[in-house]
Subunit: 257 residues, 2 copies
């Protein structure tokens, strides 16, 4: 259902207003896909569209996807209009609002053999990159501490190249839920530079691995470090203090896949 829009205050555009506020959006029932590629991935992942806001140039490409959703409003506007509504420069002028899918159930998560568990990863680009690498290297799911960013925030989905919509993920209610993983046979592997850390090159992973990644600034908390079964480090030179968490995730996910 194509609808031309020209009024910035049009109440039908409420899904697309003020998209820069990540905190606000996390509480909502929808997520925003930015750019045609991510919109296509959202459809492919079976997400239910609420509305689209796009430049006319994308309509031919979207037509086949929209055939199954004849009642979904497709608001058509100029690139400048879209930017003014959303409050940021929209990548190639295409936004989709979709119902937020449910998080993965514990059964699904625990059926896997390789899990990444992010403690307070707050940067959306880092979180998206971690989800992308997990999906690309065959890890089964991502778990998130209560303080970690939202993998369905627009920029995290984009950094994940849409993998946030495909890979099972779930938010932990608290640190105690790490014990669920252990009870299910996962070894909790802390990525940390502690006294007892083993070099990654020498570490032999068990059948089930839950890789604990720390927050950007200060790494894993003492609590999580203490809960871990194994401490593993990437051998490094003294030229840098640490690697970026997404780079470290890539190396661990590759070495322990």
């Amino acid at each position: 259902m194509l609808i031309d829009v020209t009024d910035l205050a049009d109440p039908r555009l409420s899904d697309f207003v003020g998209l820069r506020d990540a905190q606000l959006r996390r509480r909502e029932e929808r997520f925003i896909a930015e750019g045609l590629t991510i919109i296509e991935r959202a459809f492919a992942a079976g997400c239910r569209p609420r509305a689209l806001l796009v430049q006319p140039r994308w309509l031919p490409g979207l037509a086949p996807l929209l055939e199954a959703w004849p009642r979904v409003p497709v608001y058509v506007a100029s690139e400048g209009f879209i930017e003014q509504v959303s409050g940021f420069h929209v990548h190639r002028g295409a936004l989709g609002s979709f119902d937020r899918p449910a998080e993965a159930g514990w059964d699904d998560v625990l059926a896997g053999r390789r899990l990444i568990v992010c403690e307070d990863t707050v940067d959306h680009a880092n979180l998206g990159a971690i989800v992308r690498v997990a999906a690309g290297l065959g890890w089964d799911a991502v778990l998130l501490s209560p303080g970690a960013a939202d993998p369905l925030y627009r920029r995290a989905i984009k950094a994940s190249m849409g993998a946030s919509l495909e890979l099972p993920w779930r938010r932990l209610e608290g640190d105690h839920e790490l014990e669920r993983l252990r009870a299910a046979g996962f070894r909790l592997v802390a990525t940390t530079l502690s006294d007892r850390s083993v070099d990654l090159a020498d570490y032999r992973a068990g059948d089930r691995v839950a890789l604990l990644l720390g927050t950007e600034g200060s790494g894993l908390s003492e609590g999580w470090t203490a809960r871990a079964d194994d401490h593993v480090r990437i051998e490094m030179t003294d030229k840098v203090d640490s690697l970026n968490v997404a780079a470290a995730a890539a190396i661990f996910a590759y070495a322990l896949r």
Copy 2:
């Protein structure tokens, strides 16, 4: 030499005006360090300071570094003033302007055994992350195609955690300079999904490796791919098309270190 500044048009602040324009700054003889940590790294790397623009709160920490440079002007201003001059939100209100160090000479570059060569890496965060991982994992130098971003641009230095100031790097004059590497005994290893790509897990690196990384959108060019001695891929699922270039760099740099 402490100088209070309150006039946004003060001509002495010219080093710090309009810092958001990466293209402009690349042609200049200076680079900008943002935040106290990076300023400290610039001093530690032996870079010559031109001027600082900082909040009063950082003066005690900077005093020992400035003892050797009594004539360097240290402009003191509020966080809001610094933001207005520079045109962006300055991380914790501290900027340093330093003379741009010379690029590494070919002799230094060719004395190494592990080189990363970036073809048109345009994103400063990616380039910084690549330099950081190269430094952290003991690679010897980074080379850049003419179209790649500047590792001394403010945001690239920051993403590298200052490693751009320590790790030798050099910009190639053109594709033909790849032959210098081959002539010096380096194998040119293309990170690419081609018909003849070997899985990274099966690849045995030679004594000297020059790892060719492609641009963010489309990967290595046909020209660079054709020049490579070996084609190597990271085995992936079909859930994503590719990994982020910095994530791929981390995995290759770890596996071939």
